[in-house]
């Protein structure tokens, strides 16, 4: 305890630009999470629609695809993609990545990390969206078809606006998980916050006059994640409560994995 709170062990935080160095790393994590989330949402919706198709030829392969990627450890997927991704993909990525992206994101390695995170998260999101869509009463789609809407119109105007609204809390929970998972790309040598923390705690002398102990550095990194993730969960609760007031119905909750359990709990108790 005395070691943990000893001021001399925290001096590194204010000396040199150590703290800025950590924040720069952390922003790489947030950027990776944001890009992976946007792609996963689009791909997840596509997968969910394929999965609920009435043609077994489409729905069965989509179901297998989703179940495989959803049930593998995300770190295994990251390592696998990193090993098998052709070098040409990495160099193509380095050519097309926009110049304004930060230096760490210019590396071809980032593509491997992004592909792996998208494979995993799109499968999880597809499952969340599928249960969101299926949680609608059948009457909704029947009524839409009876009114003469085509499949696409019914989806766009009736089913998706209602179904997707129900999955907002589950999606935000998944975003929190994704945020935490971005630290795993440090294993494949992407220069993000964990790598920056390791650099700081092994060679603090470069960045300031004082040593940066690894315990304190990584507690600081952990607190950064906690701050952002708490903010996200507060936001999703706000949205959910507003939505419930607006529609004046008790929203049916959509289940997913891990964090969803927690998100649901908060909804049940309203705390």
């Amino acid at each position: 305890m005395t070691y943990l709170f000893d001021p001399s062990n925290w001096e590194w935080l204010v000396s040199g630009n150590n703290f800025r160095f950590l924040l720069e790393g952390f922003s790489i994590n947030l950027q990776i999470a944001a890009v992976a989330m946007v792609i996963s949402l689009a791909l997840g919706l596509t997968l969910a629609l394929l999965r609920i198709s009435k043609l077994p030829l489409i729905s069965v392969p989509a179901g297998i695809w989703i179940d495989v990627w959803r049930n593998l450890p995300v770190i295994l997927v990251i390592l696998y993609i990193w090993v098998v991704m052709p070098k040409s993909w990495a160099s193509t990525y380095e050519d097309v990545v926009p110049g304004f992206a930060s230096e760490a994101l210019q590396s071809g390695l980032v593509l491997a990390g992004l592909i792996a995170l998208v494979l995993y998260n799109s499968a999880v999101l597809a499952e969340i969206m599928r249960s969101g869509i299926l949680s609608l009463e059948r009457g909704q789609s029947d009524a839409a078809y009876a009114l003469g809407l085509t499949y696409l119109q019914a989806m766009r105007r009736v089913i998706l606006p209602q179904g997707l609204r129900r999955m907002v809390p589950a999606t935000v929970s998944q975003l929190i998980t994704l945020n935490k998972d971005t630290t795993l790309v440090s294993i494949i040598a992407i220069q993000e916050v964990v790598r920056h923390g390791r650099i700081l705690s092994t060679s603090g002398v470069f960045f300031g006059e004082v040593q940066a102990p690894v315990l304190q550095v990584f507690i600081a990194i952990g607190l950064m994640f906690i701050a952002v993730n708490l903010l996200l969960s507060r936001l999703s609760r706000r949205l959910e409560i507003r939505e419930r007031k607006r529609t004046a119905i008790k929203a049916r909750r959509v289940t997913g994995v891990e964090d969803q359990v927690a998100a649901e709990t908060d909804l049940v108790t309203g705390r």
């Binding site: 450890p73 770190i75 098998v84 998972d181 906690i226 708490l230 891990e258």
Partner: protein, 220 residues
């Protein structure tokens, strides 16, 4: 196809020892997660604002911190601070305490599903609060949250793979697969078998919890 079996038969010792390490990791962490999770859930629902807050801080801390960061804190961090923590203790404690936060939240929702009326009734019958928890709340809460705990256990099996590739470096299934891959350069075959190992565990957990769910269903 032949190569698939070749990699498997030639490196069977690595795969089985890795699989065994992963099994032990998961088993020990599960015990920690369930016991600490139950304790924290009890704090979360206790009739004292301060106890609730302590439980809340625990949950928000461990739920929102990346497991990899937790592993580095508990292994490299504590060692640097002079605590001679072993890889096994660091790995299982990190995974266990991390999962405990989610278990606690699941149990809390189970407790709220029990209903205030039953708790009031038990208290007015003269049961003490600890007894109410043990005899009335926990038996029912656990049953309602069996499916939720099932999905948390599956997530925990998957998260256990992080321990082997982090600084803690226990020779678990994924770590062994990396060793095999470095020897053979047959990534597709090697990772296929590692994935199969994790799928065996997650599928087994799925069936186990499906059985528990039907076995302990509350008939209302």
């Amino acid at each position: 196809m032949n190569e698939l079996w070749e990699v498997f038969s030639e490196h069977l010792p690595e795969f089985t020892s890795g699989f065994w390490v992963t099994c032990r990791l998961v088993a020990i962490s599960l015990v920690i997660a369930m016991s600490v999770g139950t304790l924290i859930a009890t704090l979360r629902v206790a009739p004292s604002v301060w106890l609730n807050r302590i439980g809340g801080v625990y949950v928000e801390f461990f739920r929102n911190i990346p497991l990899l960061v937790l592993l580095i804190i508990s292994f490299a961090g504590l060692r640097r601070a002079g605590v001679p923590i072993s890889p096994w203790v660091a790995g299982t404690a990190s995974l266990g305490l991390y999962t405990a936060a989610f278990i606690a939240e699941a149990l809390r929702s189970g407790v709220f599903a029990v209903g205030r009326g039953q708790i009031d009734a038990a208290l007015s019958l003269g049961l003490t609060y600890p007894r109410v928890i043990r005899r009335i709340i926990i038996p029912q809460a656990f049953r309602t949250v069996i499916p939720a705990i099932g999905s948390l256990v599956i997530a925990m099996i998957k998260n256990s793979a992080i321990i082997g590739v982090s600084l803690v470096a226990l020779p678990d299934l994924l770590a062994q697969a990396r060793v095999v891959n470095a020897e053979t350069f047959q990534a597709n075959e090697t990772f296929f078998w590692a994935a199969a190992g994790y799928l065996i565990l997650t599928v087994a957990a799925t069936f186990l919890f499906r059985y528990l769910e039907s076995r302990y269903r509350i008939r209302r």
